[in-house]
Amino acid sequence: MQNILNSYFFKTHRLEISILIIALILFIIYFAGAPHVFTRFPIYRAFMQSMPFFGIIAISATFVVTLGEIDLSFPSIVGITSLTFGMVLSGTDGNFYIAFLLATSLGMFAGLINGLLVTKIGIPSIVATIGTLFFWRGLVNVVSQGSGIAIVDVAEDTWHHALFVEKIFNYIPAQFVWFVVLTALMQWIYRYHKFGNYIHFVGDNKASSQMMGINVDNVKIIAFVQLGFFSALAGIFTMYEMLYFWPTQGSGLMLTTLAAVFVGGTSVFGGKGTIFGTFIGVLIIGSLESGIIALGLSGFYVQFINGLMITSAVTIYALIQRKKN
């Protein structure tokens, strides 16, 4: 046991191991408290169906948080890009390519604006993105005039619908497969690509990174742009799942998404984080609501236990960090 605790892998993966243990304990509680629900498949299908919508954004937001920045505007970016996707798809009688291209481009453009405000104008990201949060949601309201858009006619039973959300062999929702694939890809970039490396260095120490020849502004801008892209992608997934656009789409995502990142163990101070942790964080945050209900507690407990989870997780990380220093 002592050997395992002192092993290199354990030392370098403390965060990941802690989060895994927290998730395991949570699922043991689920099993013990509601075996009739958790020994059957449907609950997992429900998880796989709903988690990817905010999970994809959480994975992407881990890059921005590792930079020591934050983006609060993504719920509205989901809104404006979903609206665009819905309008173009129904307006072109189901032309997926144009709708996808326009929605994701707009997402990246919104990310670019965030990035420019933070780097070139010098507004702290928390302030800049509160501004764009209101701006994009406001634009959604103005354009949609408060009414929704149905895409049932142009999206149902199409190949692109199948590609995004159809159940594979009637069991696995396609969006979950996408979520896992994207997580693996982003993990690879985060740890092994030059860009992931720069994200860590800039988040760790901006001045040193600059002296080592890293273009700090560009790294930040690209991070915001990719979050804009993935927000748009999450919006498109939601559209296919619901086959309907409504003007508040995305606005419930903010807290669950950021909670997943922080519960996952990524440091709010920047320089250190884990994509795997965020993935587990998504499993935890995404399962809480149904889990709590299945355990027989009333819905009023959901927020309370959510709060308990988040606070205890970040406390554990802070203690691990303090021990290190």
Binding site: W188, K194, F201, S208, M212, G213, G271, K324
Partner: protein, 255 residues
């Protein structure tokens, strides 16, 4: 006849209304060690940041190996063969040593993915051959925050030697080091001459400076107010000059 390696002509740098460098002329030859001395705020760090591409001068010319150049970025100055060991040591605390050593010039494939295996192997070579780390406690996977000041400096030196360079710039290389560690650093600087490399270094301690440099350039409020070759001035006179400068705020300019 020594060959000119780097020449700055009438370099001016302003930060807003503050003139940090006022028409500075500066030259360094191949195989020469030049010390930049002066009070805090004299413009020493700004001058070297102009040379390394962190700052762009507002006006003036830079000649490297007798060719006029514009140094627009750190990576460009590195490509030209200018390496810097910064005062702040330019290391990121939470990242592993092998990532720090190659930060900004990772060994990658064409898609930009880092060759971790190769980077770790090269970093190991640097730790062993250039720095002489033998302690088992420090490996290429150690994050920087566990290292002592001297060890961090060692990593920064090792990095500058590994990437074969003509000019090494050292910003307060002995700051915060023990006497033993300082001696190592000064030996390192003297050793550069044998490899026909040039060095510019900034230090507050005249004793350190005098022991390691061939020439002394005194900066005061953005201007060069004195230049001496080692044979022209004794250590005590150099100390006197600095005290005079400190008291009067000015010393006579040498022709």
């Amino acid at each position: 006849m020594k060959k000119s390696l780097l020449r700055l002509e009438k370099i001016t740098k302003n930060f807003g209304n503050v003139k940090v460098l006022k028409e500075v002329n500066f030259e360094i030859n191949t195989g020469e060690v030049v010390a930049l001395i002066g009070d805090n705020g004299a413009g020493k760090s700004t001058l070297i940041k102009v040379i390394t591409g962190v700052h762009r001068p507002n006006s003036g010319k830079i000649l490297f190996k007798d060719k006029e150049v514009m140094i627009k970025s750190v990576s460009q100055s590195r490509k030209m063969g200018i390496e810097t060991v910064y005062q702040e040591r330019a290391l990121c605390d939470q990242q592993e040593l092998y990532r720090n050593i190659f930060a900004g010039r990772e060994i990658t494939n064409i898609f930009g993915f880092i060759n971790i295996k190769k980077q770790r192997k090269e970093a190991e070579k640097i730790l062993r051959d250039y720095i002489g780390f033998t302690s088992k406690a420090i490996t290429v996977d150690s994050p920087v925050y566990g290292l002592s000041g001297g060890e961090k400096q060692g990593v920064a030196f090792g990095r500058s030697l590994y990437f074969d360079s003509d000019l090494i710039i050292l910003d307060e290389p002995t700051m915060g080091l023990s006497i033993q560690e300082t001696e190592k650093v000064l030996n390192f600087i003297r050793g550069l001459k044998d490899q026909n490399k040039s060095a510019i270094f900034i230090d507050h301690n005249i004793v350190h400076v005098y022991g390691a440099a061939d020439r002394f350039v005194i900066l005061d409020r953005g201007e060069i107010v004195g230049q001496f070759r080692k044979e022209e001035i004794s250590r005590d006179d150099l100390v006197k000059k600095m005290i005079e400068l400190h008291e009067s705020g000015k010393i006579e300019v040498e022709a």
